[in-house]
Point group: C2
Chain length 256, copies 2
DNA sequence: CCAAAAGTGTTTACCCTACACCCATGT
DNA sequence: ACATGGGTGTAGGGTAAACACTTTTGG
């Protein structure tokens, strides 16, 4: 059989493939998910994840990036985007058999007035509302969001992922605020300081100094992610790729 | 739009959905992957992952379990099966647009004479041969196997997952052999012993005693995975769900 | 001077590695 | 008796949690 020989698509069970994206961001010290109010049937008027059909000439990652850009205006830069998994129960979409490939994303700088495409509206809902089932979602999107949340929480153990919630240059406190929002508990400031400073993937942008707080306080230095060199080698020639770089969740929760 | 209203499948890009499974097992102290020699075009005669088309009335997990059973005869019991991710480059299959949902599995008791369906033959290839590119695989299956391997290695940090390579009842050495095969290095026997004994998810089947080695040696006690109770409570009433249960890869590798 | 946030020092507890040592069995 | 593998004891190093303390700013 030559590669130009094609199958009749109707010989296979008709399946549509969509891509949905769980976009996380932080607003008002709270971890939130972007939801779109559906403007079309089915589930018209209900809240759903941004997403759409896979186009003929794009791969899955490209489709996810496109949907993310269409719905948020955010470009692929400064965004963490990763595949989560696929969902394909036979009856998950009343129209026809639809398998969706779910992605999850971190957007640090999400523009506030989101919305577009066929979406009548958009909102950033706290993840706690979804965890506690205080809102109903279209399709099986609640399950997808819960899985995404679980994955995101694990990925946050890497401070490099957590930094995606921050602007390109950030203070260590800003990074700490990401963890305090995601875990909803306080973190020892001093220990966190050391943890980040010890991590070779973070670089002190020593020239710049961040603004001090609204009611005073010592100004913090700015940091950024060290862009991986050609082979990940450090400046001093040492290469310890497998360090203890995770931020753990142990210890007692203190008042916030 | 009522839920009985259907879309015309041809209104969407024609996509076929398949399911592929990366089956890991251990043979001769070596971690191996099950490959099938393709009996049909495309890639006829080349090695590929077991898999097939998603059927109309099954969900993704069911399709993966079915393919696994068809190709290995192994039932869902005593098998660890988990979704890995989806692969959908537009040109990954020369016939038509195919999105595959990949799964990965651990089979402890894989029957030796595998094969069936449209497969002319089957083999268990050491993962090292795939890592070192010593064999060519059909489609993008090499990429899938590498991703599965990476995922499996991380999952092995949980000894409960590693135990899936063992029979329902096993000695601590048998479990240790799983790590030594997967990591290709030796592990301190005494420390490993303590690690497993300290893990409340493992239960000593005290009545039974495993056979001693071929050339003598103290017989080992048999262990099994504690089936999760209604709320995961321990016998003594304590409940420490978040323990240090991971098996880490640190320390120097000793001779095997 | 005081409040507030950044950053450093220090103590302590815990875990894990390495390795020594004893136990139980087959030959 | 000895080899072999099962199982325990234990000392040392490293890391991280907790918290005290110093530094630098705004009001």
């Amino acid at each position: 059989m030559s590669s130009s020989e094609k199958y009749d698509p109707r010989a296979f069970p008709p399946v549509a493939v969509t891509v949905d994206v769980v976009v996380f961001t932080i607003r008002e010290k709270t971890l939130r998910v972007l939801l779109i109010n559906r403007g079309v049937e089915p589930f018209r008027g209900e809240w759903a994840l941004p997403g759409g059909f896979l186009k003929p000439d794009e791969n899955l990652d490209e489709a996810a990036a496109r949907e993310l850009a269409e719905e948020t205006g955010v470009t692929e830069e400064s965004v963490y985007l990763e595949q989560l998994g696929s969902y394909g129960s036979p009856d998950r979409d009343p129209r026809m058999r639809v398998v969706t490939v779910a992605y999850w994303a971190i957007c640090g700088d999400l523009p506030d007035p989101v919305g577009g495409g066929d979406a009548a509206d958009a909102m950033l809902i706290p993840v706690s509302m979804i965890e506690q089932d205080e809102i109903s979602l279209a399709f099986d999107h609640r399950e997808i969001v819960r899985d995404a949340l679980q994955r995101a929480m694990r990925s946050l153990e890497s401070p490099l992922v957590a930094a995606k919630f921050c602007p390109p240059q950030f203070t260590i406190s800003e990074l700490r605020n990401v963890y305090e929002a995601a875990w909803n508990r306080s973190i020892d400031q001093g220990n966190f300081q050391r943890k980040i400073r010890a991590n070779r993937m973070f670089m002190n942008v020593s020239a710049q100094i961040g603004a001090s707080g609204p009611r005073g306080g010592r100004p913090a230095s700015l940091w950024s992610i060290r862009d991986a060199g050609p082979d990940g080698e450090d400046a001093d020639g040492s290469r310890d790729s497998e360090e203890n770089e995770a931020v753990t969740r142990k210890g007692k929760a203190r008042k916030r």
